[in-house]
């Protein structure tokens, strides 16, 4: 074989092997590290998996935020006005977290339907609503209208 062609062949083989290894690594990493968003209504209906990383978001229910007296544990509920999900989080909440505002929590749902959050995200500024939350609220509003009408 012509040396240039042989070199090119080896090159292609090298690139193919290397990229397959990288793709394998990617798929492996992805399988363990993605998490899906569930609106509160689906969580309440039991559609969300227990013991797996998920995200739940909605509006923080007015008057639901309770802080512990001796630790940084916070309990609150988020709602899409169909159902609400209780959330427990230990740590410092983001600046823009507030009752009646949108928030998304990432964590694991336990058997009693409480989300043990490892992270809580609030909006970035006062005009912004997390898109998942906006969509969940819209869906629940449509459902409401269908039921009313």
């Amino acid at each position: 074989m012509h040396p240039v062609r042989r070199q090119r062949l080896l090159l292609v083989l090298f690139v193919v092997l290397f990229s397959s290894a990288a793709i394998g690594l990617m798929v492996y990493a992805l399988s363990g590290n993605i998490n899906l968003f569930y609106p509160p209504a689906e969580v309440a209906a039991g559609k969300a998996p227990v013991g797996q990383q998920i995200r739940v978001g909605g509006m923080v229910v007015e008057g639901s935020v309770q802080r512990s007296d001796n630790s940084l544990e916070v309990r609150f509920e988020v709602t899409d006005y169909q159902a609400s999900v209780p959330i427990v989080y230990t740590g410092i909440l983001p600046d823009l977290f507030d009752e009646g505002q949108g928030a998304v929590a990432a964590g694991v749902l336990n058997d009693s339907g409480v989300l043990q959050a490892s992270e809580v995200l609030a909006k970035h500024d006062e005009n912004y609503m997390p898109p998942e939350v906006a969509e969940a609220l819209e869906a629940s509003q449509r459902l409401q209208e269908q039921q009313d009408g």
Binding site: P3, V4, Q7, L11, F14, V15, F18, S19, A22, L25, M26, Y28, A29, L30, G32, N33, I34, N35, L36, F37, R55, R67, D69, N70, S71, L72, G91, I92, L93, D95, L96, A106, H124, D125, E126, Y128, P130, P131, E132, E135
Partner: protein, 659 residues
């Protein structure tokens, strides 16, 4: 009346841009010298009118002209004037105008500093850049006019700038980042011009190399500032989140690294030509993709100012035209410019090939992780998010794989080298590095740490490779100092950038492994100890700033009974918007940062949630990035980029000057 003047200037700039993208290109096609010679003048014209337009918007911000919509929504009369200035680009419309201004600046710079370029090439390059400019100027004018007025109905005061953006780091972060982003358009334009002319030779690589290096250097500084800002401003001590918007700027950076190295091979050896062109297209496309991701509102973050589907669609169409058009051109032209030079498997070419493969794959994995949620959402498969664990699991092994080759790189030879020579030169240093990396982590307080050992091994390997090569290069000099002084700037640039990479490895690993982070509930008078430092919460005070009021916690830090520093983190409430902001207090140091931030008041007796962080060697990461960026800038000082036209016209391929 003045804002309309700015609007008018932008329209004139757009018209000049259209001329720039048509006339010289036509001239290059018909070989019409007069038409081609218009290109530099038109490029300067575009710059002048965009600059006027930008200046007008700046004046509107500085004079609190709230009849202009963007001023009213993003500024306030109480805002310090430094931030009124940076508020110009703290919004969608203004930041787009900055994009256009910087692009016009790069175009004019190419026109000014390319007297040695053949006229046809210069005309094509400027035309391609003019075309990109037209795309963005019309985007600005038709979908996001910064000069839109609120007449009648001018508000008495503005809505204020997002408090997160009221920060000195944020004044220069966007311009630097854009300098990098947009700078890759020069490499792109050179690649397209070379494809059009069918002349992909060493001369082409030599012209586009300094531009690529500078653009990459600015992008490095921009990303570094963004990371630093996130660290002290977001109030929880993180410095990299694999947030889609960060990835948007990181992807062109990674592709840029591959491009820099591939250009070196093309310039020195006339190899990888088609691949280099493809990389140049790919890198700039990623810059455009980044702009699309950030500006279209498909992603949400502090950077996404507006979610207007029309804007997203416009950039998407423009992206499709640029990427589709350039790839079509590539498919038509690239096969005619392939090379027939060979190289041995043990050679510098092979090592640079490894660099290219690793960085290309790294770019693709980041791209995949960033776009995966968007695709799944578009397909109706649910709202996924891909978090840092994915990126760490994929990205870190790739980088670790790179370093063994990177250490050998500087002392390897072009064309053909031998493994035994590498072994002879590096065996002893390798043993020394292994011993150091196995023993040094034992000095840490918590015993041996495998990750730190690995980081030391990799960083040390890079350092000894460079030292060994420096010794070889200075061996025949009369004295070490004179030998070092004789080395070319481009060589020094490489040394700095590689050392910077080593520093970043150490900083990243040390701070992620040895950081101590504690979130606590503290009442005034309480004392807590973190990593040997004793933090005493002295008292709580109410303070007032120019446009905010704040609660300030005052802490004094001692170590072994000796006073170290007083820290005063704040929780601010901005008056105009009512937004709450955390202002962390940091005691910085080369070996460790102490980081204190306030959470929220908890319970009775004035208790607050307080973050106390001890972050060893976190500065090394940013110092390393500064070194990498400086390295990129230093290479431009190289003599060979200042040769006149005659020298450049020499038949390209192999070149005797030092790498």
């Amino acid at each position: 009346m003045i804002p309309e003047f700015g609007h008018f200037a932008l329209i004139i700039a757009l018209c000049l841009g259209v001329l720039l993208s048509v006339i010289p290109m036509w001239g290059a096609w018909r070989n019409n010298e007069k038409a081609m010679a218009l290109a530099p003048g038109l490029a300067m014209g575009v710059l002048v009118f965009v600059a006027i337009s930008f200046a007008v918007l700046t004046v509107a911000f500085l004079q609190d002209d709230f009849s202009v919509k963007v001023v009213a929504s993003n500024s306030n009369s109480l805002l310090p004037s430094m931030y009124k200035f940076s508020a110009v680009w703290g919004n969608h419309e203004g930041s787009l105008l900055l994009w256009v201004l910087i692009l016009a600046g790069w175009t004019a710079a190419v026109a000014l500093f390319s007297s040695q370029l053949p006229l046809t090439m210069l005309a094509r390059v400027l035309s391609v850049m003019g075309f990109i400019g037209v795309g963005f100027m019309s985007f600005s004018l038709f979908t996001s006019n910064p000069f839109e007025r609120l007449l009648p109905g001018t508000p008495a005061d503005g809505n204020d700038l997002n408090p997160l953006l009221q920060d000195p780091g944020l004044i220069i972060h966007p311009p630097l980042l854009y300098m990098g982003y947009v700078g890759f358009s020069v490499a792109f334009a050179f690649a397209i011009a070379a494809l059009l002319g069918g002349r992909l030779d060493a001369g082409w690589a030599r012209w586009s190399r300094p531009w690529t290096n500078v653009a990459w250097a600015f992008l490095t500084f921009g990303i570094m500032l963004g990371s630093w800002w996130a660290y002290y401003e977001l109030g929880w001590g993180g410095w990299w989140f694999w947030d889609p918007v960060e990835n948007a700027s990181f992807m062109p950076w990674l592709a840029g690294v591959a491009l820099l190295h591939s250009l070196a091979v093309t310039e020195k050896r006339g190899l990888f030509k088609s691949w280099t062109v493809l990389l140049a297209i790919f890198t700039f496309s990623l810059s455009l993709l980044g702009t699309f991701l950030v500006r279209s509102g498909v992603l949400t973050s502090v950077h996404a100012f507006a979610a207007d589907p029309e804007r997203g669609l416009y950039i998407l169409v423009f992206l499709a035209i640029v990427v589709g058009g350039s790839l079509t051109l590539y498919a038509l032209r690239a096969p005619t410019v392939s090379s027939r030079v060979t190289f041995g498997w043990v050679s510098r070419e092979s090592l640079l090939l490894v660099n290219n493969v690793v960085f290309s794959v790294a770019t693709l994995t980041v791209l995949f992780g960033t776009l995966f949620p968007l695709f799944m959402d578009a397909l109706g498969q649910g709202k996924y998010s891909v978090g840092p664990p994915y990126f760490n699991a994929v990205f870190l092994p790739l980088m670790a794989l790179l370093v063994p080759f990177m250490g050998v790189g500087p002392l390897s030879r072009w064309k053909s080298d031998t493994g035994s020579r590498w072994l002879r030169d590096l065996a002893l240093p390798a043993v020394a590095v292994v011993v150091c990396s196995l023993t040094l982590p034992l000095l840490g307080a918590d015993g041996f740490n495998l990750w730190v050992a690995l980081a030391l091994l990799l960083a040390g390997w890079l350092a000894v490779g460079l030292l060994r090569d420096l010794r070889d290069k200075t061996r025949n000099a009369p004295s070490l100092a004179r030998g070092l002084a004789r080395l070319a700037p481009s060589y020094w640039g490489m040394v700095m950038a590689h050392l910077g990479f080593a520093m970043t490895i150490i900083g990243v690993v040390a701070t992620s492994q040895y950081s101590v982070e504690r979130d606590l509930k503290m009442v005034p008078g309480q004392v807590e100890t973190v990593a040997g430092y004793t933090f005493r919460f002295d008292d709580l005070a109410a303070v007032r700033g120019p446009n905010y009021v704040a609660d300030e916690a005052r802490l004094s830090v001692t170590q072994d009974g000796e006073h170290v520093v007083n820290l005063a983190p704040q929780k601010r409430r901005y008056l105009a918007s009512g937004s709450i902001m955390t202002e962390a207090a940091i005691d910085p140091g080369l070996w460790r940062d102490l980081y204190v931030a306030m959470g929220e008041p908890v319970g009775e007796q004035g208790a607050w949630a307080i973050r106390l962080h001890y972050k060893p060697m976190v500065r090394w990461m940013w110092l390393g990035a500064i070194f990498m960026g400086l390295g990129g800038l230093v290479t431009v000082a190289d003599k060979r980029y200042r040769r006149r036209r005659a020298a450049v016209a020499a038949p390209g391929g192999i070149d005797g000057s030092p790498a």
